[in-house]
């Protein structure tokens, strides 16, 4: 019994704070205990005010960019490192996990800011820098998921089986491996997307005026207009929530594959 009471309390601990911006964003007025009225006006403001709408577009561009970049980097690296032996392979696998702990986003931001100020790579303040920064932040998460997918399907045995049937490397990739690790890749992509959409810390350091993302806009609005801020906050919560619903679904598919 106590177990279930605690369970409910723990669910509420996450749900109640996240409901606050959502309720706020749909109400006309919320100064007292209960909110008053129902409106979609604050969401409308995201789409109709140019500054907000542009920030939304920038955020989506950056998130897709970070996902694409991570696909190119993570999938081949996870494949290669899954095959690498216990020596340097293990060290690289561990390194990929420890690196983000040792170099928190703040440090990466400070470092990126001063590394690419001159041509040929004058990236600071451009949207490219934001995409790269988000890709760095998302990389360890995606790498872990894709590596786990390769481990789960026992890639070596599968590859050997396919090779013994005469499949070339590309055929094995195209018809055997990629379809099998797809849930892992998609989960990783969703996670990178969600992280990128919400990222504020590094973005605020490396983005100039040209790459104002939605969270940067939210930061200004928290001081100016709580109601617009509530709609942006709620929107970011929906993005995270949807990503996680999809990831849970993909995770269940992964588990079924393993079984």
């Amino acid at each position: 019994m106590i177990r279930w009471i605690l369970f409910v309390l723990l669910v509420l601990y996450i749900v109640v704070p996240l409901l606050m911006p959502v309720i706020f964003s749909f109400s006309v007025f919320w100064q007292d205990i209960l909110p008053q009225g129902f409106t979609l006006r604050w969401y409308e403001a995201i789409l109709t005010r140019p500054a907000n709408y542009e920030a939304l577009l920038v955020s989506l561009t950056v998130a897709f960019g970070a996902v694409l970049l991570n696909l190119v980097i993570t999938v081949p690296a996870a494949y290669a490192l899954n095959r690498a032996g216990p020596g340097w392979g293990q060290r690289l696998r561990e390194g990929a996990v420890i690196l983000p702990l040792l170099f928190p986003p703040l440090v990466v931001g400070t470092a990126l800011l001063q590394a690419f100020t001159r041509p040929p790579l004058a990236l600071t303040g451009t949207i490219w820098m934001v995409i790269i920064a988000h890709a760095i932040l998302g990389f360890p998460f995606m790498f872990r998921l894709v590596l786990a997918a390769f481990q789960t399907i026992d890639e070596r045995t599968l590859s050997e089986a396919a090779a013994s049937l005469g499949a070339t490397f590309w055929q094995r990739m195209r018809y055997v491996l990629i379809p099998n690790v797809m849930p892992g890749i998609l989960s990783g992509a969703l996670l990178v997307f969600a992280i990128s959409m919400g990222e504020f810390e590094v973005t605020s350091m490396v983005a100039g005026f040209t790459a104002q993302t939605l969270p940067l806009r939210l930061f200004q609005q928290i001081r100016n207009d709580m109601r617009i801020a509530s709609a942006i906050t709620a929107f970011l919560i929906y993005v995270s929530f949807l990503s996680f619903v999809l990831m849970t679904y993909l995770g269940a598919r992964m588990r079924r594959l393993r079984a």
Partner: protein, 313 residues
Amino acid sequence: MSGHRGRGLGPSPCKRRSGMTVTLRGIRGNISQLLRLLSLEVLLLIPFILFVGLFEIYPILNMAYRSLFDLNGNFTLANYINAFTKPQFRFAIRNSLLFATAASLVGGIGGTFVAALAVRLPARWRNLLLSLYALPMTLSGLVVAFAFIVLLGRNGILNLLVRRAFGLPPTFYFNLYDWPGIVMVYAFFQIPLMTLSMSAVFENLDPNLIEAARNLGARSWQVWRYVVIPVLLPGFLAGMSIQFAGMMGAFGTVLALVGMAKNLLSLQIYSHSSESTYNLPQAGALAMVLITITGTALLLLSWSARRLARRGA
């Protein structure tokens, strides 16, 4: 038939060896297959190595190098001397250490508690709880700051409720904008993070082992001391190092809650690299101090976890 068969020639460490060894092995046959395999796997790592090298390692080395110069480009150690002598920075380092320790402890203990409960739930509810606790991982610090301002700000819902219920004056409220409040908001990230790492650890705790210890006549405290804690502690320490490292670098939520009114090392780095007090070499030196602190903490925690794991085994 691809180079895959070539693997059978030797265990994987062969890739580490020099070209000489590879050639010698090649003489025994299959040189082309082996080389093709080697180059393929190395080729596949190139995007990763280029990316991390160019956009993570190089910028940090560059930052470390530049932190040794002043704004006019003359060599100096002043940025580091400042970091440990200027009261502003000394307080920042002290506050960051205290804050990161407090937030890690809250997160570590809270998360362990949630994970301990989660493993006792039926699988369905456990998965629901764990999925829910994965959610904060991607949430922006601003989102959580906003949520708590509405809930617990000066005129937040909970403060209003408590004031109404007990007829208290408006000067009475839970202060979200001081250290306890800030730690509480960060707990919303830290507790779920710890829950995820500890639930994996708890699942490794074999109930048969506890049963066996009991049957052998171990008392309750002995079961904890010799069976449960040795299994849990390495995972707990690993979780704590993630917590501490994360908290040393955190600043988004604090910035949204109190601006620069609180003095943290992370906020100092932020303001020296992107706000009015712009001084990149100084920010770089402070960032190096931060990396050193985090690195030392990670080393200490992993060292003690390994020692404990050995002793526990």
